[in-house]
């Protein structure tokens, strides 16, 4: 994965598509957690979700950019 890529002539940092991808993954995970009742074991649902997004983003960043 390059550090930056050409998007319709504009140069965009490589982190941007990774972030969009992690947002997509996060939507899936969020749905799964709701569907399988993970949120019953969570005290603060919004905090849990933002933490999950950060973790997914960091993981994808480590996997794709490194």
């Amino acid at each position: 994965m390059p550090r930056e890529f050409d998007f319709l002539g504009a140069l965009v940092p490589g982190l941007l598509p990774v972030f969009l991808l992690s947002a997509v993954v996060h939507i899936g995970l969020d749905w799964a957690c709701g569907h399988y009742g993970v949120y019953r074991y969570v005290w603060h649902r919004s905090l849990f979700r933002i933490c999950m997004l950060i973790c997914v983003f960091g993981l994808l960043n480590a996997l794709l950019i490194k």
């Binding site: 390059p2 930056e4 982190l15 074991y41 969570v42 005290w43 849990f48 933490c51 960091g58």
Partner: protein, 292 residues
């Protein structure tokens, strides 16, 4: 109910801690790892100027052509310089004859008795002979200069490289010393990475470097050749009366300045084309000291 509630707190706290660690890693990775998107390919650009003035009579190269050292680039009207050379050749011949005559005269008088020539006459002849010799040398130098000028009407490439921005045509007047075209030295390509000043502690001379061009072709490798030791201080101009004129506005939020780091490219892959001035990303592979 109580155990379940404790579990709920623990799960949330654990993921919060993990997220903090991950966020810190992401921050450090972006802020302290030595890489920059602001890299430029550079090459030595040689401005070719005619050494003598005159009308351009022929242009031997096309724009963007590869030329080798010593190849003819363009020629300047030779007639004037050929005439000057012929003139100095003639002067040289005349001076040669004069010199021979004077030296024979002096030799003859030196051999004669003092009852026939006065010693003054003899000394004058010797002086005239050496003056004629000196004039001969001066004219010889003038002849050599004229010959050099005639040679310099053919402007040749000083290095192997590519002709760029060819703006010289037959009939143009080329003044001595004013550049008519640029040749990019094909053996001199290097990369300037503009690193933020905050990242300078994480790189050192000879660190291996990866260079990624925007064209998406294979990554090039190189080494840090040197780090610039100075950039312009934008806030301190010299004002009137030669006093410092320090900018009184100081931004609360400000950007790290960038320092040029020169990267020597390792051997290029066969057939790989580099264009001076294009953008690239420079990533230093072995950080000389751990960031964070």
């Amino acid at each position: 109910m109580r155990a379940s509630s404790r579990l709920r707190y623990v799960v949330t706290a654990v993921i919060l801690l993990v997220a903090i660690v991950v966020a810190r890693y992401l921050w450090n990775d972006n802020m302290y790892s030595p890489w920059t998107r602001d890299g430029r390919v550079k090459a030595d650009v040689i401005n070719i100027a005619a050494d003598v003035s005159g009308i351009v009579t022929s242009v031997a190269v096309r724009d963007n052509q590869l030329v080798h050292k010593g190849d003819l680039l363009f020629t300047i009207d030779k007639s004037r310089y050929a005439n000057t050379l012929a003139q100095t050749e003639a002067e040289l011949a005349s001076q040669q004859a004069d010199k021979t005559m004077r030296s024979r005269e002096a030799a003859r008088r030196a051999g004669l008795d003092s009852s026939i020539v006065t010693s003054e006459n003899r000394e004058t002849a010797a002086s005239l002979s050496s003056m004629a010799g000196a004039r001969y040398l001066a004219v010889l130098a003038a002849r050599d200069t004229a010959r050099l000028n005639l040679e310099r009407t053919e402007v040749r490439a000083p290095v192997d490289g590519y002709v760029t921005n060819l703006r010289v045509y037959v009939g143009d007047y080329a003044s001595a010393g004013s550049a008519k075209l640029a040749v990019i030295d094909s053996n001199s390509f290097y990369v300037f990475g503009y690193f933020e000043e905050t990242k300078l502690p994480y790189l050192a001379v000879n660190d291996p470097v990866e260079v990624r061009m925007l064209d998406g072709q294979a990554t090039l490798t190189g080494h840090i050749e040197s780090i610039s030791r100075g950039i312009t201080d934008r806030d301190a101009a010299t004002g009137r009366e030669l006093l410092a004129d320090v900018n009184p506005t100081f931004n609360w939020v400000r950007l790290a300045q960038r320092v040029p780091v020169r990267v020597r490219l390792d051997k290029l892959p066969e057939g790989r084309m580099l264009v001076a001035g294009t953008t690239c990303t420079v990533v230093v592979k072995a950080a000389s000291s751990a960031g964070g």
